[in-house]
Symmetry: none
């Protein structure tokens, strides 16, 4: 459904390269259009707790077809989506998850990265996404 | 901890190759010595339900440092480990999960494969394991 | 409630000693009269999957105030307690869990051991129980 | 994997001593480098609800290789990691969990303490960590 393993692999390679360039240790997950895990890689020494977060970021980005950080802004106390993080078995709503678009602009999957600051997570996810968009 | 991403990647590549050779669509997971996910790949069109099974097979093989099929034999009705599958959040006890040994014979991780018959799952897992043992 | 940490500790020490004597690598758990974890020890190199099993054996033994193996016999297909293992978040019904009695014969807790054959698991659990009964 | 039972035991003894000195009733958990439970002790009369919290604090500290309280500060509403507590089956993000370093500065495990104020939890965890660092 949507993204192929070849594409997912390409996204993960690009993300790994960016992470090495920035001297970061990352967990990187790619899900398909059905929000199901397609490919995953954990760099040596990357945070163990970020395995789950990378996968959730990828799923969250595909669940709502938007960057995870956008959901974070809308789900603050008083915000319109306050508590949305309790849905779907638990969402991650800070940056590092991005939907991936196909040639015709349709969402074919998503990438999630976790292991550093949310800015770095986002940067590495963006590198992965770019490689196949 | 134990297996490196480079090793895990090598195991997954070898398993993918074997699966293509046999014309199978597989999900392949590798965990480290702490039973934490290290790498994963789903071939295009592979069963969605096998994502979870491949990961659980890898974890189960590391949890007890033995092929998952061995646990299946011991946990039949009347067998000594009947019901063990209810532990650890749910085990998979049929073939397709194998521990991976390091140079000194210590367990450094495990591989789990799911997507076809248990015989094929085992064959593909074995190909992945051999590549780095 | 019931067993003290001093008693639980004594049981674990005795079980560790017996395991070393038999050259086994065990996970050993002690719960109190409320079936809540009181003490736990994992020997170096013991199966990771046996952490959860040792704790569940101890809880199962206290839940029904009987050796876990007794439940296993009663929960075979066709048996009177078939499927009891689905209760309480998942029971372990093979040997290695034993209730611990106080001075007046009342149950003050339970011990659960996992890491080898069910016979060895039982032997080590028995050593732990004896130390404080 | 990382911490040995002997080291974990030493950490727990030191934490128990500090708790007694401060007249506190604590639950103390130690996990290894794979975030798997290695040793645990509950003092007589310690809060039952703190069993789970102590274990989660230890796991959380190892998941992200930092004191649990640091995560708490970063996950306040408006903070960069808001909602991280929904990952990994539920994190505990207030003080009382600390990573434990080995001789070469690598993380070999973590300790989690729960049963009093977060300040006291942290103090007792620190005593445990110091004993083997």
């Amino acid at each position: 459904m949507g993204i192929t393993l070849e594409q997912a692999d390409k996204a993960i390679r690009a993300a790994l390269e960016k992470a090495q360039e920035l001297n970061l240790k990352m967990n990187i997950a790619v899900v398909d259009a059905g929000a199901n895990l397609t490919a995953f890689a954990r760099m040596d020494g990357a945070w163990l707790g970020s395995i789950d977060i990378a996968i959730r970021k990828a799923r969250t980005a595909r669940y709502f077809d938007m960057p995870t950080g956008d959901l974070g802004q809308a789900s603050q106390p008083g915000g319109p989506l306050y508590h949305i993080e309790h849905s779907n078995g638990g969402l991650i709503t800070f940056p590092g998850g991005l939907p991936i678009m196909g040639e015709n602009g349709e969402v074919i999957g998503a990438i999630g990265v976790s292991g550093s600051t949310v800015e770095n997570d986002h940067t590495v996810a963006e590198a992965g996404r770019k490689a196949i968009s």
